[in-house]
């Protein structure tokens, strides 16, 4: 059967729809539906409702709406501003102090959440408006929020690593340990970049700036500081699962917000409403991705790609580079877990056979697909962030680009210096 005509029609349809300003979620769904028709597999569309249902019926997502809600409540209830005041009184003397605060907050957030999108949604809600209020451009505030959000799934706990470990029979504890140094390195690099931009673009901060006094700020921030203590302590010391910790964070954010006198029933309802809309936007995207990944799996696109690659005869270094390209592309084009599920089983066994360390390989792959969260066409973090901060998606892509490039350079270092990822797992006797 000749697919040339139907495929070109789909491409034209997609281009027209793109230009007309179609929402990405519906566009992915519609293109996938047309592909079912074009390749004569339309009877398989009968799986779609259940497919969509199963995609959403997942325990793994549970922490996400709760963290979005907690973030929104913290923002409305003055938690964010209390924390930011405190951080300002510490970091404020530095140029670009709030940029540093943003990165450091993401490091703390990473210890709580396994997801970059949750980080971006929560901090996009609270820190970006705060940075704007203090004189940063929305572009820069959003860019550093997006760039630092991917620390979330690199520093443990990490849902991507758990998923990868389960799929590829890799020791998850070792993966967790292996993620810590790369995550901290990423944070350090982002802070260095922030310092550079702060001086180049004359960001707020500096000795003569009007800073909140330290002690009153600290006292006011104590309830707010309890939140990360509850969440981090709760999960790291084994009192709660992440979803439970997120639930407790919601409760704590409500109580603290009422305590600060900034949150009433109206505010809580608005928070819930906003969380519902954001969750809805996310869910329709997940629905569309479930449709797309089904037709891709059915047509065995991943396997077809693999057989092409096998013909190239690459060595270990070349193969690692290829893995970078593939998983970066996969992370760009689809859901993170779908990317792992589709491509890891295909490309990982060959890498292991070449003697590449499984833990190192896993971290390289996880780092890769999280970088894909920041890149077009489907950078999930930036998609969510663009709706949260109301910034044009492509503009957000452009302003985040320097950070993304730096992150990719760091990825290259991690790829070719396995010692960075392997040091901690080795020291802990996990490999």
């Amino acid at each position: 059967m000749d697919f040339a005509l139907p495929v070109s029609l789909i491409l034209v349809f997609t281009a027209v729809a793109l230009a007309a300003g179609s929402a990405i979620a519906y566009l992915i769904g519609a293109s996938a539906i047309l592909t079912f028709w074009a390749v004569d597999k339309s009877q398989f569309m009968a799986v779609l409702p259940q497919r969509l249902f199963s995609q959403l019926d997942s325990f793994a997502f549970l922490a996400m709406p709760l963290f979005i809600l907690a973030g929104d409540l913290m923002n409305r209830g003055g938690v964010a501003s209390a924390l930011i005041d405190l951080s300002m009184s510490v970091f404020g003397r530095l140029k670009g102090g709030l940029g540093h605060v943003n990165v450091v907050t993401s490091v703390f957030f990473a210890g709580v959440s396994g997801s970059a999108t949750a980080d971006a949604a929560a901090l996009g809600n609270s820190l970006v408006p705060e940075m704007e209020r203090r004189g940063y451009t929305r572009d820069y505030a959003s860019a550093i929020t997006g760039a630092s959000s991917i620390i979330g799934p690199i520093i443990p706990p990490s849902s991507i690593m758990i998923f990868y470990g389960a799929l590829m029979e890799t020791n998850v504890t070792a993966l967790f340990a292996a993620g810590i140094l790369p995550g901290l390195l990423l944070a350090a690099m982002l802070m260095a970049m922030n310092a550079y931009y702060a001086h180049r673009d004359d960001h707020p901060g500096g000795a003569d700036m009007d800073l909140p006094p330290f002690l009153p700020s600290l006292i006011r921030a104590i309830p707010a500081l309890m939140l990360p203590v509850i969440i981090l302590g709760g999960t790291l010391f084994g009192f709660m699962t992440p979803a439970e910790a997120a639930g407790v964070a919601v409760l704590a954010a409500v109580l603290i917000g009422i305590g600060y006198g900034k949150l009433d029933l109206r505010g809580i309802l608005d928070s819930l409403m906003r969380t519902g809309v954001m969750l809805g936007g996310l869910f329709i995207l997940l629905c569309a991705i479930s449709t797309f990944s089904y037709i891709a799996a059915l047509l065995q696109w991943p396997q077809a790609i693999q057989s092409v690659v096998e013909g190239w005869g690459l060595g270990p270094l070349g193969y690692l580079m290829l893995i970078n390209v593939i998983f970066l592309g996969a992370g760009m084009a689809m859901d993170v877990k779908a990317a792992v599920a589709l491509f890891a089983p295909i490309f990982v066994p060959a890498a292991l056979a070449m003697g590449i360390d499984p833990i190192h390989l896993a971290i390289v792959i996880c780092f890769n697909i999280t970088a894909g969260l920041l890149s077009p066409p489907l950078g999930a973090v930036l998609l969510i962030l663009s709706t949260v901060v109301k910034l044009d998606y492509w503009r957000l892509i452009r302003v985040t680009m320097p950070f993304l490039i730096a992150e990719l350079l760091l990825l290259l270092v991690l790829t070719y210096v396995p010692a960075i990822t392997l040091a901690l797992p080795t020291a802990l006797g996990l490999r």
């Binding site: 009968a46 029979e169 020791n171």
Partner: protein, 304 residues
């Protein structure tokens, strides 16, 4: 004609009982008009989706979790009766009894699914924990185990231990942080989940066999010619043989693998399994209907 086999595990015949079946099946069809495509790692969907697809003829063969099979055919819940089976071989004999296959097949066939038998995915379930070697039932008293469902919770309590329901995605976190101390699973789950780093104690208690149900689309099978049906039947048989051959090798190697990963294996002390059987037996008749339990008991007696 193309045959799609969908499954949960990765396509790795060395380590996966599902993949050994799939490849054994595919190899047996070489030289026929059939081509076999394997869809591993849930690429065609999770359990319920694959059940839907095989029942509606969109998918030819599905390797389903036992829980998926018994959600349709309750008698198969007997597959998870704790301490009911002495060995995988015994289960094989029980399942080959006509009365068992007939009772198990009927509700599945109503749904458009032919039940083609049981596939093993490893050694039977044992007791993993992060705290201490367990050799007696009394050792379980101060441990808290992750339970998959209410049935497992009941079992843990019946054994004088404690359970807490935790989703699989949260297990690693929960155990490392002490929300739970361990779980009941086959060793392969701990290895695949990467949990052996902290679940350093294992007791092979042979709780119940680790199985999958082989489901064949009835719409598709019925549309085949008699000759083709014969080819498929022979290929299914070959797949099962490949799976049993893999299982024998896997069973002899698994302890060595666990030890390489730093797991201490502690066998149950003399007479302890009998104690556990006694404690768990009251659960049998709550887990399946009285009629189904009678069937399992009869089939077990007939298989002796």
């Amino acid at each position: 004609a193309e045959i799609k086999i969908a499954m949960n595990s990765v396509d790795d015949p060395a380590n996966s009982g599902e993949a050994t079946f799939a490849h054994g099946f595919a190899d047996a069809l070489e030289g026929t008009d059939f081509t076999v495509e394997i869809y591993p790692s849930e690429t065609l969907g999770k359990e319920k989706e694959r059940l839907d697809q095989v029942s509606s003829g969109l998918l030819e063969i599905n390797l389903a979790a036992a829980s998926t099979a018994y959600s349709v055919s309750p008698v198969l819940k007997g597959l998870t009766l704790p301490f009911f089976f002495d060995s995988n071989e015994q289960l094989d004999k029980i399942m080959s009894e006509d009365m068992m296959m007939e009772k198990a097949s009927a509700p599945l066939l109503d749904l458009g699914v032919r039940f083609a038998g049981i596939n093993f995915i490893g050694t039977p379930m044992g007791i993993h924990n992060a705290k201490k070697p367990v050799s007696t039932v009394a050792d379980l008293a101060d441990l808290r185990f992750r339970a998959l469902n209410p049935e497992q919770l009941n079992l843990m309590e019946a054994l004088g231990s404690n359970g807490t329901v935790i989703a699989w995605a949260e297990v690693a976190n929960a155990i490392q942080t002490g929300v739970a101390d361990g779980y009941f699973n086959p060793p392969s789950s701990a290895i695949r989940g990467g949990h052996t780093g902290f679940l350093t104690n294992y007791t092979p208690a042979d709780l119940f066999p680790s199985t999958r149900a082989i489901m064949v689309s009835d719409d598709w099978y019925s549309s085949l010619s008699e000759e083709e049906q014969g080819q498929i039947d022979a290929a299914l048989e070959a797949g099962l043989e490949a799976n049993r051959a893999w299982l024998a090798e896997w069973t002899t190697e698994i302890a060595e693998r666990q030890e390489e990963l730093g797991v201490t294996i502690t066998p149950l002390a003399e007479g302890e399994r009998d104690k556990m059987i006694e404690m768990a037996a009251p659960l049998w008749e709550t887990q399946v209907s009285a009629e189904d339990f009678q069937l399992w008991t009869d089939a077990k007696a007939a298989a002796e």
